[in-house]
Structure formats: structure tokens, C-alpha cells
């Protein structure tokens, strides 16, 4: 290491950008993604129940889902202490991932809660 330090520093600077993109701890990344999916799925289910009890129909429910996911994203950003790049490799992980899967759970529980509270 000590021998290389003279020539290594210039190499380090030139390849620094590539290194930051490529090397990160994949295990911790997986764990973080699991946490995000957990949060989103749980909040989709709860949001579906809330939308159903409130009696939203049609487009209003989907608007409610959009607002809820935005709220969740804000919560996740707060949870990561406003430093996304310490915990995730891109913003899409926090803002977009798990959106469609959550939508399915949302619609399921939305119709379920609506049926229980308003139809039967």
C-alpha cells in the first residue's frame, strides 16, 4: 500500500466517480428495499380500509392512493434522515418502488371495506 501511494492517488481520483456508482453493500441494499416494500404494502392496506370506510368511489379513491403514497415517500425520506444516497442507490427506490404492487392491495381492501361499511 505504502509503495503505491504516490501513483495510486492519481488513479484513485480518476476512477473515483465509477467506484461510487458501482460499489455498495448489496446485502444492506436488499434489506433496505425489503423495509420499503413492507412499509408501502402495509400502508396500502391501511389506506384501502380508510378509503373504503370514508366511502370514496371512482377516481377519488385513486387520488387518495396517490396522496397516500406521496405521504409515505415523505415518511421514508424522513426515516432515512434526508440522506437518500447513504441508504439507496437512486431516488426511484424511495419514490416509485412498490407503487403498483401496493395499488393492487389498495383496491382489494378498498372494495372490501366499502362493501362491509356501506353495502351490507
Amino acid at each position: 500500500m505504502a509503495v503505491h501511494s504516490g501513483s495510486g492517488s492519481s488513479e484513485k481520483k480518476s476512477s473515483n466517480g465509477v467506484n461510487e456508482l458501482l460499489t455498495f453493500n448489496a446485502e444492506n441494499m436488499q434489506s433496505n428495499m425489503k423495509i420499503i416494500y413492507y412499509s408501502r404494502t402495509f400502508l396500502s392496506i391501511i389506506g384501502g380500509v380508510v378509503a373504503g370506510i370514508l366511502g370514496f368511489t371512482g377516481l377519488y379513491g385513486f387520488v387518495f392512493y396517490l396522496l397516500l403514497m406521496a405521504f409515505t415517500s415523505v415518511g421514508l425520506i424522513v426515516k432515512s434522515k434526508f440522506s437518500i444516497h447513504t441508504y439507496f442507490d437512486s431516488w426511484n427506490r424511495v419514490l416509485v418502488d412498490g407503487f403498483l404492487g401496493g395499488l393492487m392491495s389498495f383496491v382489494l381492501f378498498w372494495t372490501f371495506a366499502y362493501d362491509i361499511a356501506h353495502i351490507f
Partner: protein, 106 residues
């Protein structure tokens, strides 16, 4: 962990109570023969409270986020594994420069 779980449980219970109140409200409307125009204020309040508690639970129960930077303080190896004889250092990881000097200076 246990606290977050309990808070989520309370939130779900509040949601159930709100659903029950809505069912009762619908029954009342059926008796007085009025149309449903929106949930009563108490139900809306209960729902927002339950949603807030469940949000808290959803954000705390899954666990802590872990740092993904390979050279952060949390990810440093502080103890050597038991199978040192089987470890190979002559692999492709060699080409990544290790920031050894920066670490030792602190």
C-alpha cells in the same frame, strides 16, 4: 420494535371502531330515510388518527435502514471470522483501491 407494533395494533383497532360507527350511521340514515352524503366528523377524526398511528407503525416496525456505502463506519469489519485459513485475498476485489490511509488517520 414492540412499541411500534403496539401502536399499529391500536391504530387498526381504531379503524375497526370507525368502521363500526359508519355501519351504525348508515343504519340510522336508513331509519330516518336520508341520503348518505359523507361520513360524520367523529368517524373522519378516528380514521385520520388510525391512519397516523399505522403510518408510524409502518415506518418503525420493519427495522432500521442500513448504510450501503462499503467504507462507512457501520460497515467496517471489526472482528475476523473463524475460518481464516479458507479466506482468499487474490481475487478481483484487489482492483478497487482501499481508502486505508484515510481510515487510519482518524
Amino acid at each position: 420494535m414492540g412499541l411500534g407494533f403496539a401502536i399499529g395494533f391500536v391504530g387498526v383497532l381504531i379503524l375497526f371502531h370507525a368502521a363500526y360507527s359508519t355501519i351504525q350511521y348508515r343504519a340510522l340514515l336508513k331509519i330516518t330515510e336520508e341520503e348518505f352524503s359523507g361520513s360524520p366528523l367523529s368517524v373522519v377524526f378516528e380514521l385520520s388518527l388510525g391512519l397516523l398511528l399505522c403510518t408510524w407503525a409502518a415506518l418503525t416496525v420493519p427495522g432500521k435502514l442500513l448504510c450501503i456505502h462499503p467504507d462507512s463506519e457501520e460497515n467496517r469489519i471489526v472482528s475476523l471470522p473463524a475460518n481464516l485459513d479458507f479466506m482468499i485475498f487474490n481475487h478481483r476485489g484487489k482492483i478497487f483501491p482501499v481508502e486505508m490511509n484515510e481510515k487510519l488517520r482518524h
